[in-house]
Amino acid sequence: MHTTKRCALALAVSALAMGAGSAMAETDSLTIVSWGGAYSDSQNRAYDEPFEEKTGIEIIHEDKAAQGLAGIRSQVEAGNVSWDLVDMLQSEAQRACDEGLVMEIPHDEWLATAPDGTPASQDFIDGTLGDCFVPQILYATMFAYNDEAFPGDKPQTIADVWDTETFPGTRALQNIPQKNLEWALIADGVPTDQVYDVLATKEGQDRAFAKLDELRDNIIWWSEGAQPPQMLADEEAVIATAYNGRIFNAQVNEDQPFTIMWDGQMFEVDGWVVPVDNDADIEAIKEYLNFATDSQRLADQAKYIAYAPARSSSVPLVSTHADTGVDMKPHMPTSPENFQNAVQFDPAFWADYGDSLEERFSAWLAQ
């Protein structure tokens, strides 16, 4: 009997504690979903720690952005939304917004103006702000190669990647159609500004797959972002597509002899969405978004990772790498010499044609 009473007491106390915990979660904390790893670290140091210090609101991290869209969808459908802010690619944010899973964000009302007074809606890089989406960083996916594999001439252009006579060796590409089809068309001579028009036609799609066929025997496929730098380091591949931040990390922190081929880089933005019906205080979310996407905070993030701030006014504020002191400006995908032949990844195109091209790509890959 005595033990039963004690058990009941313990239960009551823990229930109280849990109740208090969830009550606190509603007012004094924000649950933020991001990608984990070096990327979350950079966000943590650039925005979250200063934000916690400034406001006393606790930030709870979940590294589940890879399942971001599926996660928001199931939480909204179940009517139990525990995520307050989710870090997403623009293409996924577009889908979430179309389906009404995330809130529409009045940009100039919620977001900070630039130091010179430019409103937010004009400060972010063209075409990156979405109805429901506030970009943070701009990253590039591009080809990189191991210097040691090419003692003489180095590959310079996308066409060189397809030139296995002059530049023999294995290429590592990601096992998705996105970007690979665009590059195949560029290698086949399509001007960068017409890539998506061509890819929207049946003939253009056939042409892209035929071009990929040419390279097929020289390709190994990667699925996780950590793989390509490793494949280059092991000389398993001599040229690989990769995220620029990963290659920067290998160059600077691991001293690998890698070079980024900026020609035909495909850039894309990544940023915040706010799931509808979430359980947080809307004012806290506004405050966080305002703080975390202001010009200084976005520039600060570039101290920790080689992704470019998505605001024009942040570019001059970018300084040096926090740990090694390397000047970050030349490593930014947006720096003028890197940006010359850049292609903007088109999330709207992929929202329209993604389902069918992904299936065709899977079928092609399985042959």
Binding site: Q67, L69, A70, R73, R95, C97, D98, E99, G100, E104, T170, N175, A200, F209, I219, I220, W221, S223, E224, D234, E235, E236, A348, A351, D352, Y353, G354, D355, S356, E358, E359, R360, S362, A363, W364, L365, A366
Partner: protein, 428 residues
């Protein structure tokens, strides 16, 4: 049980000769009651597990199956159009009434933000419709009747007969389309079921590939595992314990670590190729590709699943007395004959358990094929995972594919039960 019956007062014969208990109830009733009570008590004990299984297993599977045929998007989010288009005969373009209904639905849909859901559904079958519908919905407030001209002027996609036939067809709330797609079939624009164009056919191939690779992996596990289990069962205890640890050690190591270790071993600049080059078997530029293809998946998965074959085999072999083989020999059977006719049949329960475990685990494997499978070495589960990240329509395709995979496993289990008898299995 015994407690329950002992609590009852002793039976005594009543006046009319029927056996009753002290309080006058007939003995048969009283006995039935006490049995029922015992059964209830036993049921309460399994209730938590039962509830757990229902909530975490049966309900999600049932949800998965129902959602894979649900098709409420058009009917729910374009209700006026659904009503108006019922009268259209499907030839030519629908008349103004249908266009007006569509315009009305779009006004409501863009306010509620539901128009994107139906756009994504139709876009699954006619790529580009998403932009057409979202773009029009954005401008709908500034447009005015006649709606037919207004919509077609806004986007020529509204003059596509195929689009309207699709809308009419998809007003039904249940659809087999995701199952058709799973077998590489689809509807053509006239609503007939046809095979998909060759460049889109992938799922049948992947189901078959998953099945034969899993069979191959199971066979390899038998070939490699049987002798090991035999040795473990017949060595003196101190050696067999050491060997057992060697079998179990990889079993206790993280899956990712073991998979990565195979990458280090098998890649072109890896240990195995280096040794072959060093031994002069192959030239430096003729290194084998043993990973990021089927070979990689088969090797890594065989290694990972091997303990699931060895352990049930070992547990059965351990119980087979050595005297049986000696008896067979003494009656004149050759060593091979006595092994094949006496020993092997006795190991069938363990072998069958191993086959069942390895095959069913293999057929749903995900992470290893994803990491080392490259292009031709991936399984259907990898395609399911990819589809789950896509639009809601893709999600439903993933659900249909998963249901088919589940049914395939159940059929395999049923067949296996017919052939071997599941009640004979010994898992360890």
């Amino acid at each position: 049980m015994t407690d329950a019956t002992m609590d009852r007062p002793a039976a005594k014969a009543s006046d009319d000769g029927e056996l009753t208990t002290a309080d006058g109830t007939p003995l048969a009733v009283s006995l039935r009651r006490s049995h029922a009570q015992a059964r209830r008590r036993a049921f309460y004990l399994v209730l938590p597990l039962l509830a757990f299984l229902v909530i975490t297993f049966l309900v999600p599977i049932a949800t998965m199956m129902t959602r894979s045929v649900q098709n409420y998007e058009v009917a729910d989010y374009l209700p006026t159009t659904t009503a108006a288009i019922a009268d259209w005969d499907g030839t030519g373009l629908p008349d103004e009434a249908v266009y007006a209904a569509m315009a009305e639905d779009m006004v409501v849909g863009s306010e509620n933000r539901t128009i994107g859901r139906v756009a994504a559904r139709i876009n699954r079958e006619i790529p580009g419709v998403r932009s057409q519908m979202m773009g029009t919905a954005r401008d709908i407030d500034e447009m005015s009747p006649p709606w037919k001209e207004a919509l077609i002027a806004e986007d020529e996609g509204w003059a596509n007969e195929e689009f309207w036939r699709l809308v009419k067809r998809e007003t039904r709330t249940l659809t087999p389309i995701y199952y058709l797609l799973s077998f590489d079939f689809e509807y053509n624009s006239h609503g007939e079921i046809v095979e998909r164009p060759e460049e889109y056919q992938v799922y049948r191939l992947m189901f078959l590939r998953t099945a034969w690779m899993s069979l191959l992996i199971t066979t390899l596990c038998i070939v490699l595992g049987y002798p090991v289990a035999y040795m473990l069962a017949n060595l003196p205890l101190r050696y067999s314990n050491l060997l057992m640890i060697l079998v179990l050690l990889p079993f206790w190591t993280s899956l990712l670590v073991r998979t990565s270790a195979w990458i280090v071993l098998l890649q072109q600049q890896g240990v195995v190729n280096d040794m072959l080059v060093w031994a002069g078997v192959i030239a430096d530029d003729g290194r084998f590709r043993m990973i990021y293809n089927q070979i990689g998946t088969i090797v890594a998965m065989t290694h990972i699943l091997l303990p699931f074959m060895i352990l049930p085999l070992y547990s059965v072999m351990k119980t087979i007395p050595k005297s049986y083989m000696r008896a067979a020999r003494s009656m004149g059977a050759s060593p091979l004959r006595s092994f094949v006719s006496v020993y092997m049949p006795l190991t069938v329960p363990g072998l069958a358990a191993g086959v069942l475990l390895v095959f069913i685990l293999a057929i749903g494997y995900y992470i290893t094929p994803a990491l080392v499978g490259g292009d031709t070495g991936i399984f259907i589960s990898n395609l399911i995972a990819r589809a789950m990240q896509g639009s809601t329509a893709e999600l439903k395709l993933a659900l249909a594919l998963s249901t088919i995979l589940l049914v395939a496993v159940l059929i395999f289990y049923w067949l296996f039960n017919k052939l071997v008898g599941v009640d004979r299995l010994k898992f360890g």
